[in-house]
Amino acid sequence: MKKVYLSVIGFALICRLNAHAQTNQGTEKLPPLIALDTPPEDTSGYAARQLRLDEVDLVSSYYTQTGNHSAITGGIGTENVIDFSNGLDLHFAWEGNNRNKNTLGLGLGYDYHTSASSAYVTTSGNGKPDGTRIYPSLDWTVENAKTGNTFGLGAYYSGEYNYKSLGADMHFSIKTNDKSGEFGVKLQGYMDHVTLIYPSEFIQAIAPAPAGSMYITTASGNTVLSTGGRSSKPSLPTSPRNTYTAAFSYSQIINSRLQIMVLGDLVTQNGYLGLPFHRVYFTNKKDTIESLPSSRFKLPLGFRLNYFVDDNIILRTYYRYYMDNWGSNANTANLEVAYKISPFFSISPFYRYYNQSAAKYFAPYEVHSPTDTYYTSNYEYAKFQSSFYGVGFRIAPPGGVLGWQQFHDLELRYGHYSQTTGLVSDVISVSIGLK
């Protein structure tokens, strides 16, 4: 009887210990990261702050282009380009005070391109025809768990041989009380530096060699400074270009199938807005370097409307009107029809139409007068229309792509682009999302 009595007491003590383990306040169930409704008041005093890798996105694109209006050769000559672009974005998340959701985005992009016209920066056509670009980015955003409002800061860098760019932004969004509408603002600034690489025939006239030195052209076509038989690359000065953008948006859910967005940007640029290796040929057949004003104001206004037609079809539409103070106006219209073959697999044909009027400083090869103040033969500023069409595929099965749970979605997209200037390009992109 004594043994039975002691056993009961012992069992009761063990149960009591286990009960303590179950009621430990520090191990209560964690709250959801994104509260869809007003979260219950936190009485535990516990705040989860664990940093975790939320999502990884990769995108790669292969782009080819042909054309015959290169700005480097004054509006004539090859525009052939091949570009291989790759991007990686890491999204980290953690919960801050008051259960606000913080996200940190780290991005890295790397491009390799060949450009046939770049070789003609030197008159011999033996210049460097390829290059690379690297562009890291950083973004931090915090979302208020109760209101859904956000605030964030971002920074970017882009570096290539002849162009460096440093940018930063501050952005915030405010949701309406019923969370069906959202007003967003993004203030951006880019501080760029254009390396002053001139066409080889102008180098000595613009930057005379110091006493005792002279410029020579090497077998590879590069112009170098030679002093006493020793040669070196001349130091290349840069010129600044600044861009400031205030971007505004308002999105609204209309009903369970329809939502819209109105967008407007105010963009101002100042500094060196041309490129030093773009040639212009005058009516007298003499060439010079492109000359453009040192300031530009742009006003793009956009409108998006997405409509879930039935259980299988989504219409994605976009229209943009654009104007700037260089005299260019443009219209962009885009329609994409996403057809869901199954809830997790869709095919999306798309068509984009674009037209623009010429900037007042543009004229083709040997049309500008030597008396003009500003002049360019860059067909980016010409009057033209373009079409871009293609198809995209998206697969996002609940069990993951190829049965790999973390492989959340896969998208493949091909597009063919043609301008009335004769420029034609093709681009194929693939993106991968991992969670």
Partner: protein, 72 residues
């Protein structure tokens, strides 16, 4: 042209805002579909760069407004 756009946008916005309905979370399955997102998809990132370099127009959520050269 710009006046026409502003008028159209105002009419659409006015019509839309005054006729919109409040949805409960369980009614947002279609709105929250990944392909209903009001913006560019990640896979479009590079093609938008190419377009903004080849054309005068950029911005308003379709192509960046600054940074990078696109010289080639």
């Amino acid at each position: 042209m710009i006046n026409q756009f502003v008028k159209l946008a105002c009419v659409v916005l006015l019509f839309s805002v005054t006729s919109c309905v409040h949805l409960k979370e369980y009614q947002k399955s279609r709105i929250n579909d990944a392909e209903m997102a009001l913006g560019n998809r990640y896979v479009e990132k590079n093609e938008l760069n190419f377009q903004s370099y080849r054309e005068s127009a950029s911005g308003a959520n379709a192509g960046k407004t600054g940074g990078g050269c696109g010289c080639n």
